[in-house]
């Protein structure tokens, strides 16, 4: 028996091939069930206020409406919060790309005293989460006059250790000969950084940009500590504040939730291979 099995020798990953179709249907149903909380929020956000309170609730909206979205964007001020979120996520990402790539370039392509120490220090701080320095960081920002300023949540998280690590690893693979040749031709170190290193590092920079944008867009604790006035709130902060009120206004809140999650959902679905493959980058939130 073993003999015949050896000869037939089913190819990998053929161990599960025989129930492929049923298996696919099963896992798709499971994944669908797993996402019910998200679907339910999206479906509910298109229901009229009256229908949200009807018992028992219907699965699909009876008279689908976008009035909740109009209410969230106009009376609920969510257009403002969306702009704040977009501004913060974009600026912080650009800043992170700039400072992290400069540091990564220095750590990857120069020999200097303290290089190893600085690199190890960078790695060590991946383990210092904001939750631990919540109180003193508030005091530091207060002394710098950055409380209730969007820059207070843009600048501090920009020096992501994960970003430096990711970019450095990538830049190590760029051959030194290219840099030497450029130096022979009289290029300055800044030219080498901006005209050679940056263009060659685009894949790694793109990965960092995607993750940085996601982190900052989804960020709650930074805005929660730093931003006080209502006008400066980001989407996440505004959502959480609405939830904290007595008697939640669900119709506006559900629409606002969808507005908040939609950009991330689109980024994820379009660029999912970055999320499902680049684990070193996603492993520790920055």
């Amino acid at each position: 028996m073993t003999q015949s099995k050896l000869i037939v020798g089913k190819p990998r990953p053929g161990r599960h091939k025989e129930h492929s179709l049923w298996f696919d249907i099963l896992v798709l149903v499971l994944a669908f069930a797993f996402l019910i909380p998200v679907f339910w929020v999206i479906l509910s956000s298109f229901k009229t206020t009256g229908e949200l309170f009807v018992f028992p609730p219907s699965l699909l909206p009876k008279e689908p409406t976008t009035s909740n979205y109009a209410a969230a964007l106009t009376t609920g001020n969510f257009a403002r919060y969306a702009w704040n979120s977009l501004f913060v996520a974009t600026m912080s990402t650009l800043l992170a790309l700039f400072t992290n790539s400069l540091a990564a370039f220095a750590l990857a392509k120069y020999r200097f005293v303290g290089r190893q120490l600085l690199f190890l220090l960078t790695l060590a701080t991946i383990m210092i989460p904001l939750q631990v320095i919540m109180v003193p960081i508030f005091l530091v920002l207060k002394n710098l006059g950055l409380i209730d300023s969007l820059w207070g949540i843009i600048i501090p998280p920009a020096a992501t250790p994960t970003g430096v690590f990711l970019l450095r690893q990538y830049m190590l693979s760029i051959p030194d000969e290219i840099l030497e040749a450029a130096r022979m031709d009289g290029a300055s170190e800044w030219d080498i950084y901006s005209r050679i290193i940056l263009p060659l590092s685009v894949p790694a920079l793109a990965t960092l940009a995607i993750f940085s944008f996601t982190w900052r867009w989804n960020d709650f604790i930074w805005p929660f500590i730093v931003l006080t006035s209502e006008q400066k709130a980001t989407l996440q902060l505004a959502l959480a504040r609405l939830m904290g009120q007595f008697g939640v206004d669900w119709s506006t809140l559900l629409a606002a939730t969808v507005i908040t999650l939609l950009p991330m959902m689109i980024i994820f679905l379009v660029l999912q291979r970055y999320f499902l493959n680049n684990l070193t980058a996603g492993g520790v939130k920055g």
């Binding site: 540091a103 120069y110 989460p129 939750q131 320095i133 508030f138 170190e189 709650f220 959480a240």
Partner: protein
């Protein structure tokens, strides 16, 4: 400037922006917080009076702090166990490259990219006592509705489930990566020797997956110790202090009770816990 000199100075210049931000907003606060925890300080008057270890000694008598610490330990143990079992099961189920499992993988990962606030909102909307769809279904089936978020035990359960839901996809992908490093020849050999699928799992998959399992355990533990936002939105730590965890207690001590020094002492405790976990991670990683 000579070439050699230029090569010596330039890297330091390039490191300035990142190091400046990093020193100002990570290193300085670390030291600041440690020193501040030895004082009787406030947000208005700064450091105040030096009190030595008084803040730490007070932690030993602080009922709320101990409740939050106790809650955190339980939360971490239950969440990490569930995440381990669930993400490994999904990884084994979805490791192959059929179209169905590729799409399913995206589906199970999706909650990971949702912000914790959104996770909180979605789960609260489902489990709301009077408006939630879960209680609507229960009533439909002739059962009494359950006060999901206002009864301590149910609230703890919902908080744990929401957290597990938001984390599982990430660790599933880590496990799939780990599974792909196991040489297929081992399974072929085992099959020839007549090993059942179950035996293959316990004798081959699980032992060879140990490095990944350790990594997942440590990462999930550290992340669970930092949990805050999902619970803030779901239950705000209630009912009573039933779902209040360490980080929320630190926040409330500092900003609601205006006692930043005392909160700093609690932060140091959290920091020590996280450092010990990281230390064990590196030790275990080295042994494997």
């Amino acid at each position: 400037m000579t070439y050699r000199l230029r090569q010596k100075i330039v890297p330091y210049l390039f490191l300035i922006p990142n190091t400046a931000i990093f020193s100002l907003f990570v290193l300085l606060p670390m030291v600041y917080g440690l020193i501040f925890s030895l004082y009787n300080g406030s947000f208005v008057q700064g450091f105040g009076r030096f009190v030595g270890l008084a803040n730490y000694i007070q932690l030993g008598r602080d009922q709320t702090f101990q409740t939050s610490l106790f809650n955190t330990f339980w939360y971490v143990v239950v969440v990490v166990s569930l995440v381990l079992v669930l993400s490994l099961t999904l990884a084994v189920l979805l490791r192959q490259t059929s179209l169905g499992s590729s799409i399913a993988r995206i589906g199970f990962y999706l909650p990971v990219i949702l912000s914790p606030v959104i996770v909180g909102v979605s789960w609260r909307w489902m489990f709301s006592t009077d408006l939630g769809v879960i209680n609507a279904l229960l009533t439909e089936w002739g059962r009494t509705p359950i006060p999901w978020l206002t009864d301590v035990h149910w609230a703890q359960m919902v908080v744990v489930l929401a957290s597990v839901w938001s984390m599982t996809g990430f660790y599933m992908v880590l496990f799939i990566g780990g599974l792909n490093t196991i040489p297929p020849e081992l399974y072929e050999a085992a099959e020839i020797d007549g090993a059942t699928t179950r035996q293959q799992f316990w004798r081959i998959t699980l032992p060879l997956l140990t490095p990944t399992t350790l990594l997942v355990t440590i990462l999930a533990t550290i992340n669970s110790f930092k949990a805050f936002e999902i619970i803030l939105v779901l239950t705000n730590g209630g009912p009573g202090d039933g779902t209040k965890l360490l980080v929320q207690n630190i926040y409330q001590t500092a900003f609601d009770a205006s006692n930043p020094s005392y909160a700093s002492a609690q932060s140091v405790v959290l920091f020590v816990i996280l450092m010990l976990l990281t230390f064990f991670q590196t030790r275990l990683a080295r042994e494997n």
